[in-house]
């Protein structure tokens, strides 16, 4: 079996490997794997907090009228739910997995700038803590929704430090995000092991590359928007005040110029995880690797041209342009879905929890994607924009799309990270509760939206026929919430007593499966020769295997010579 020695400079200094006290180690570490784990734990902590807020929201909405909280408290809770979930969980958790796995997948010993990587994480943590600290200030946290449209978010209408902490915290998190993006993009471009050409890096690394490029272009506008809002609130700047020449529509443009790419920042890494999981558990190569890469770039590029579809109802945007651009984004997304299904086609499918989560992703994301096409059409958007239809749609896309993919990734990579398997029994319990609970929560919301129930209301009238659907949705939300418990238990137990995992527990394809579980601090003792986008497969089956790659070029679009 052909192997190449790593060039010696890539090996870290010997003292680096000396074991250290756990806590001090994690605070001072610049190891991409440990920083990745810090990201994942932090993001999950925020996810749990955001989930508790979501259950409070659904508890209040289970019945018409106000039961448990004032309207203002409700507004703060749903605003913080959105903020925590979108800015601090969804956009960050896959950065954690990217941190851990991208260097492994491209055969690098670490990221390009390990210290900058540590700084990105700590910036993220403290930015998040600033946002969360707003729960403890006078007046409580921000109550202007995660979109913070001025003039509502201006100090004339929303006093208190909560909104300012929201602005500062998110700006700080944004800085960490931009630094992390520069780091990961540089890593993918420059740190690949010899033989690992761009068209041999795994799809997850591709989606991380595009995601981080999106962050580089989308986060600066957000920072600008936040800075102007801060000036508006505290120093009387007049960007958004129409009485002195400002425009509230301007905020919507800048915010959504960030906000729509943000959707893809959240879900593209999910697409990447799915593209890793489905081939392994179907025992076939990814169908149309290059098409998936180009589709990822297509989605990334188009995502900057569709922002105003969030603004159709303003009456202040060019409808046909933003409509057709939004429609077009369905094409590369459709290519991805068909390629995933084609990967399963004539495969040999094993239904591990990871694969079930991937299939759950496909089922849920399909509904989210299809309803997105409805919303790209202004006549339909006029009817359902800002109703529960949109709430259902983006939960199917973001929570459904990201969360199922993320769990697929976690059940898939947990053995690599910890050296132990997660329990399949608890995992399947987790999956089925999540899948049933999720659909029970959000499918009724499509119908509620069509019936005219606006989003972000603390209260609704009992005579509009919305009671039954709301109650169903709330019960579903609690089932979804409870589904997290078997997962937490599973992680807790498996870390201690889980079945030990070998280096390549699933017959994987990409390079991370050729090292030990967990990998040594410098990642690889030796690396196989890279002949295709499936080095671990080639290593297992030998370069001469009919399905393996032999030449210097990938054999795409080979029909599987035999």
């Amino acid at each position: 079996m052909a192997t190449t020695e790593l060039p010696s400079p890539a090996l870290p200094e010997a003292p680096h490997e000396a074991p250290r006290n756990g806590l001090i180690d994690y605070i001072t570490t610049v190891d991409h794997k440990k920083i990745g784990i810090l990201y994942i734990y932090t993001a999950f902590g925020i996810f749990l907090l955001g989930g508790i807020l979501a259950m409070l929201v659904r508890a209040e909405l289970a019945k018409p009228g106000l039961q448990y909280m004032s309207e203002n408290t409700y507004n703060q809770i749903f605003s913080m739910h959105g903020t925590l979930m979108i800015f601090l969980f969804a956009a960050q958790v896959s950065t954690g997995l990217a941190n851990y796995f991208v260097p492994l997948q491209i055969g690098a010993a670490d990221v390009a700038f390990p210290r900058l990587n540590a700084m990105s994480y700590w910036t993220y943590l403290f930015g998040s803590l600033i946002v969360i600290s707003s729960f403890f200030v006078a007046g409580g946290p921000a109550a202007a929704a995660w979109t913070a449209y001025p003039p509502l978010s201006d100090s004339r209408y929303l006093q208190g430090a909560g909104m300012d902490l929201w602005i500062i915290g998110l700006a700080v998190v944004g800085i960490g995000g931009i630094a992390g993006a520069i780091n990961l993009v540089t890593t993918i471009f420059t740190m690949r092991v010899p033989g690992m050409t761009m068209f041999r890096i795994p799809l997850f690394a591709w989606t991380v590359l595009v995601t981080q490029l999106l962050i580089m272009f989308a986060f600066p506008p957000l920072t600008v928007a936040l800075a102007t809002l801060f000036l508006e609130r505290n120093f009387g700047a007049a960007f958004y005040d129409p009485t002195v020449g400002g425009s509230p529509v301007l905020w919507q443009h800048v915010f959504w110029f960030f906000g729509h790419p943000e959707v893809y920042i959240v879900i593209l890494p999910g697409f990447g995880m799915i593209s890793e999981v489905i081939p392994v558990f179907s025992r076939k190569p990814l169908f149309g690797y290059r098409a998936l890469v180009f589709a990822t770039f297509g989605i990334g590029a188009l995502s900057f041209g569709v922002w105003a579809h969030h603004m159709f109802a303003t009456g202040q945007v060019n409808l046909p342009w933003f409509s057709i651009m939004s429609f077009l984004i369905a094409v590369p997304t459709g290519i991805k879905v068909f390629n995933w299904v084609a990967t399963m086609w004539r495969g040999s499918i094993t239904f591990t929890t990871s694969m079930l989560m991937a299939l759950g992703f496909l089922a849920v994301f399909l509904v989210g994607g299809i309803t997105g096409v409805f919303l790209a059409s202004p006549p339909i958007d006029f009817a359902v924009n800002d109703t529960y239809y949109v709430v259902a749609h983006f939960h199917y896309v973001m929570v459904g799309g990201l969360l199922f993919a993320l769990f697929a990734g976690i059940y898939f990579w947990f053995p690599k990270m910890s050296g132990r398997f997660l329990s399949e029994g608890w995992g399947k319990l987790h999956f089925w509760r999540l899948f049933v609970g999720f659909n029970l929560t959000f499918f009724p919301q499509f119908i509620l939206g069509l019936q005219g129930m606006p989003r972000r209301v603390a209260n609704y009238q009992g005579n509009l026929g919305w009671d039954g659907l709301n109650l169903t949705s709330s019960l579903g939300a609690f089932l979804t919430g409870i589904s997290t418990l078997p997962f937490l238990w599973n992680v807790f137990v498996s870390l201690r007593k889980g079945k030990p995992a070998p280096g390549d527990p699933w017959e994987g394809n990409s390079l991370e499966w050729t090292t030990s579980s967990p990998p040594p601090p410098h990642n690889f003792h030796e690396l196989p020769e890279i002949r295709s986008e499936r080095p671990a497969f080639d290593l297992r089956h030998g370069a001469g295997h009919p399905g393996g790659h032999t030449g210097p070029e990938t054999s795409y679009p080979s029909r599987g010579r035999r």
């Binding site: 309207e71 507004n75 109550a143 202007a144 449209y149 509502l152 209408y157 129409p242 400002g246 425009s247 509230p248 025992r283 190569p285 990814l286 149309g288 098409a291 009456g315 046909p320 077009l328 094409v331 459709g334 290519i335 390629n339 299904v341 084609a342 399963m344 495969g347 040999s348 499918i349 094993t350 239904f351 299939l359 496909l362 089922a363 399909l366 509904v367 096409v373 409805f374 790209a376 059409s377 202004p378 006549p379 339909i380 006029f382 009817a383 924009n385 109703t387 499918f443 119908i447 069509l450 019936q451 005219g452 606006p454 209301v457 609704y460 009671d467 659907l469 169903t472 990938t554 599987g560």
Partner: protein, 316 residues
């Protein structure tokens, strides 16, 4: 798998049977109970239930409609009836997410677009889900033999690039067509109403008259409009961004401070329709409701005169 069967379920929710059934003139009142098969038809309970047209004149224009509701408590008498009802229900399932029937001519255009999209969506959903479920059943792992390693197929991938591309172009055409109807503004609207959104209610001023209606958060105002003629809405906001939304017009528009948004609504039937702010606007956003009362032209004129006198008396 994704709850496309969810539409009839809410009818069985707690308290549904006690909900007042008549909200709109001409709504057929169903009182069916404990007959799961008929729950599709029972959606006629509320105008927002939506899947079934409530105006018999409109029935033919919708691509699919359920049979009219049967007499209370009746059971399917013949196998043919039962079969017909089962088929109707089965056809209604993909339409679980269909929009409420519109009450404006502009809304009809949106409704047509929605139905068109829904059918396209149903075809796509069934195709992909079908392929997925088939793979899950047919290609599950049976032995250790490695399946044929297929890396891709240009022909197939081109197919599933071009077909969705063509499909979205068709959908875009439908969109443009509906959009021009919805946003068309009459040269000479029968009435022009200045709608001012404020935290947290609405003010309606009738141009060419002194009539005005001002609401309060707990007391939703009523906007009275004539039936059958285009009514121009001039939408403004006094403070933050709001959104003017009457669900059964299938239309909304943001009220943005510093901006005047104009559009026409042509109601095609009389009745009272619920409206609400849909852009989050602060503490009492949920209470920012109003009603639209559509009346005959003569009734509208007399209402306008009366209200105008009353408003004038208040020194407007």
């Amino acid at each position: 798998m994704n709850g496309w069967f969810a539409c009839p379920a809410p009818v069985k929710g707690p308290g549904r049977r006690d909900v007042p059934t008549v909200l709109v003139a001409g709504t057929p009142i169903g009182t069916e109970r404990d007959d799961p098969v008929s729950s599709g038809a029972a959606m006629g309970y509320s105008p927002y239930r939506g899947c079934r047209p409530t105006d018999p004149r409109k029935e033919a224009t919708l691509p699919l409609s359920l049979p009219p509701p049967r007499a209370p408590g009746a059971r399917p008498r013949t196998a043919a009836t039962a079969a017909r009802r089962t088929v109707a229900l089965a056809l209604a399932l993909p339409l679980a997410g269909c929009a409420p029937e519109s009450v404006t001519s502009q809304g009809d255009a949106a409704h047509f677009a929605y139905d068109f999209f829904l059918w396209a969506a149903a075809v796509v959903w069934c195709t992909v889900t079908g392929l997925m479920v088939w793979s899950m059943i047919r290609y599950r792992r049976r032995n250790d033999e490695l399946p044929k390693q297929i890396h891709g197929s240009n022909k197939l991938e081109l197919t599933w690039t071009l077909i969705p591309f063509a499909l979205v172009l068709v959908l875009f055409g439908v969109t443009l067509n509906a959009q021009s109807k919805i946003l068309h503004r009459a040269k000479d609207p029968a009435a022009t109403i200045q709608v001012t959104a404020f935290q947290w209610s609405w003010q309606f001023n009738y141009q060419g008259s002194r009539a005005q209606v001002i609401g309060q958060p707990g007391r939703p105002p009523t906007m009275v409009v004539p039936v059958g003629v285009p009514v121009r809405i001039r939408l403004v906001s006094a403070d933050v961004v709001h959104s003017f939304y009457v669900p059964r017009t299938l239309f909304k528009r943001q009220a943005i401070p510093g901006t005047v948004n104009q559009f026409d609504l042509t109601f095609d039937r009389v009745g009272i329709f619920h409206g609400q702010c849909t852009q989050f606007c602060g503490v009492a956003h949920a209470d920012m409701r109003f009603d639209v009362k559509v009346v005959s032209s003569s009734e509208f004129q007399s209402w306008l005169e009366t209200t105008s006198r009353a408003s004038g008396g208040n020194g407007t």
